[in-house]
């Protein structure tokens, strides 16, 4: 017993030290900067700054765009995940690779490619006009940013949904059918509830990066559309106001905490069921 205790300590200490040094301490530093002013005095001004018109507008816009992107990702991914989940088990690896593969082309380059596609004289309008359709003005609008978000984060929605749906026992669905449930009833009362953990993790994986991105809005918004991520980035690189930047980051952390709480609750429920 004594020996195995030692082994546990030995095996777990590298990550214990690592996580304290590189995860927890840095977060406390953000907290410290966010709650102090340039002279190091305590203040809440950096957090209250979110209510100022420039920040509030950027934050509201980021929320709206992130919500839209998350909703679109969900609506696109759920049917796809259902189709894939019914496929053969051997296809699982193929699916994962197929949707992870684009990540091997650099994220910024892929987004940059969308610029070429969406531009007024770009690929999409070339196709539209050759079909005799009117050209669409998309680049440098909110629409372009949403497309960029959906594109970049769709795989993060597909994979957890697919995992959740694929792990549903076929017998449960058959049982529902046998007991006379219609296809719609089976879906809403059996499949959908059972896939909730996947839905939640998919939403987190799409919503948080969308809410906080600054690269996508810079590239596809023509620097005309400022999101909260752009403001924070500017505070650190341009205005050199670390306190304000940290304060605004803390506001973003609120969403992360909400998220942890929700997934914690569902985890516990899940464990209670077992």
């Amino acid at each position: 017993m004594e020996k195995s205790r030692k082994a546990i300590v030995l095996q777990s200490s590298p990550y214990l030290v690592w996580s304290i040094l590189f995860i927890i301490v840095p977060l406390f530093m953000v907290l410290y900067y966010g709650l102090t002013d340039a002279e190091g005095n305590f203040t809440l001004a950096n957090i209250a700054a979110i209510a100022q018109p420039e920040q509030a507008k950027a934050f509201g816009l980021a929320l709206a765009l992130a919500l839209a992107a998350t909703a679109i990702c969900f609506l696109l991914a759920y049917p796809l995940a259902m189709i894939l989940a019914r496929g053969r088990a051997g296809e699982r690896g193929l699916v994962t690779t197929l949707f992870l593969l684009p990540m091997w082309m650099n994220f910024l380059l892929r987004t940059f490619a969308w610029m070429t596609i969406l531009e007024d004289g770009g690929v999409l309008n070339g196709i539209l006009t050759s079909l005799g359709l009117p050209a669409a003005h998309i680049i440098n609008t909110s629409g372009a940013i949403i497309i960029g978000m959906v594109y970049n984060f769709l795989p993060f929605m597909i994979l957890p949904l697919y995992n959740a749906l694929a792990s549903i026992d076929e017998n449960v669905i058959n049982a529902a059918r046998d007991l006379g449930a219609t296809a719609a009833q089976t879906f809403f009362r059996v499949i959908l509830p059972l896939s909730v953990p996947g839905i939640l993790s998919g939403i987190t994986m799409v919503f948080i990066p969308s809410l906080t991105t600054f690269a996508i809005s810079t590239l596809l918004g023509g620097s005309k559309i400022l999101l909260i991520g752009n403001i924070i980035e500017q505070e650190f690189t341009l205005s050199y106001d670390w306190n304000l930047g940290s304060g605004l980051s803390l506001v973003l952390m609120v969403f992360v905490i909400i998220n942890i709480v929700i997934s914690g609750i569902t985890d516990r429920k899940e464990e209670a069921h077992r």
Binding site: W18, L80, A215, S223, S239, M253
Partner: protein
Amino acid sequence: MRRTLERIYMALILIFMYLPIAVMIVLSFNSSKSRTVWGGFTFQWYISLFKDATILNALANTLLIALISTLAATFIGTLTCVAMYRMRRPGRAFFTGVSNIPMINADIVTGISLMLLFRALHFDQGFATVLLAHITFNIPYVLLNVWPKMKSLSPSTYEAALDLGASPFLAFRKAVLPELAPSIVAGALMAFTMSIDDFIITYFTKGAGFDTLSTMIYAQVKRGVHPQIYALSTLLFAAVVTVLILSGRVRKRSGAPGKKADYQKRRVKNRILACTAAAAAGAIVVLGLLYGGVFSDAGNKVYVYNAGDYIDPSVITQFEEETGIEVVYDEFDSNELMYAKLAQDDSAYDVICPSDYMISRLIQEDLIQPLDFDAMPDATQYIGSQYYKSAQAFDPGNRYAVPYCWGTVGILYNTKMVDEPVTSWDILWDPKYSGQILMQDSIRDCLMVALKKDGFSANSTDEAQVAQAAQDLIDQRPLVQAYVIDQARDKMIGNEAAMAVIYSGEAIYCARENPDLAYVVPDEGSNVWIDAWCVTKDAKNAQNAQTWINFMCRPDIALKNFEYITYSTPNIAAQEIIEDEQIRNSPIAFPDQSVLDRCETFVYLGEKADRMYSNYWKKIKSGS
């Protein structure tokens, strides 16, 4: 019917996922540098890619960081899972919780928090800090894959092995590891992919002169991507696809029923395999860290911080060859960004190239040092005295700065899209050109346009005047296609916009590429600017910095730079040897005195006015 619909749906999503990749691949074979014009099929970018030291260096950084961070994360992550298996609930909860943080937390917050830590510890930011950051966000991906599998293992096989007399390590290796192997590989693969694809965390934790592919591309995207990057990405992508297809084949074959296993032989083979793998991993780590300069100390180097695309790259190699000094070259997008870097750590760079108003600020704040002109004979001999005279406006007594480039700001317009004569800034507010106007994404330049239009000084500190100018710019926003820096060039050449506020040097380049473009300095007046070399106060290599500045003043070098970047040179000797007569006498490059008389030089406005400008700028950009 249903199956076909499903197939179509899947196909549509796959097209959506792979369309941008197809675009990249097509562009990598496009002989035109512009994204929007197809200039014919070529392999030239693939060939020049292998001569481009900066890109290859960034590629090496990216791969090494991905490899080392994956190895480290896989080791630590698996070890942690093993420990968690025998832990009680609170211990497990701590580790799953803490590893969730980097995954759920916004990348920007993770990046910033690590940056604050490294700053506080006075870590030199570069290879090592990026590596630490990548290991930090990679471990959770290993846990994510390995822990669920570990949790599901029954302890009995392991205990049985112990009962049969195996040592704990042997028992682990024989009874547990084979079960875990697929999840460990999956975790490592995921970590590697995330590391390669990461931009935001790297962006905040990288230091001076260090780039991975992501950060290099981000810098380039703002000013036009070099086609070599498309070629490189295509190659990387093709390599990954090949590896995947091959490994799929191998897996299929090994899955087939084979010969009867010879355990004795296999054990030897396995042991050899394990030893080679461990040795290879160790070698990668050690060589990588050596390459990353983690152990090396500063040699004979000079750290140069210049504006983007502001030098002929061959000049840098020539300097290295002739002087034996290694150049660490880094680029900034705007003076303000450069200032932020310098204010953080003044010793990060030795020699910098800011603009006039920023130089006066740097002098006031004691961030640059007086130069020793005796050590730079070419700087006194070849730079025209009239330029030193104008430089007095921001550098009284000419003690701190050696002029590098100068020019005006004006409107570049497409004569096919604009019929009326362009003489005034007012045309930028003409609703007729809605969506056809490009503005500069830079505080002082953008506000200058509105201030001048309203008849005020470009250096106004009067809040009412600045407020009025800002309001004008907010009213103008709906007409503006985009706020850009160097992208204006590509867009104007590609006929993507009718007019742009642009620097004269860019105008020369654009007019050369697209003869429909014309440049004018509006009648209300504009800004005449000078960019000059300075040496930072805490430069570690001040001597080398002055050697660099002197080198830049050599007529043949100044001419080389002028021909590459097309910004007017203050080097009199170089001006005389410009071969192209049209350019030598170009009114854009070397305007009349009458044009210069209506232009103002920017000066530093002081901290208070600076903050006011910043606030209005945020309002303009967010449109509120």
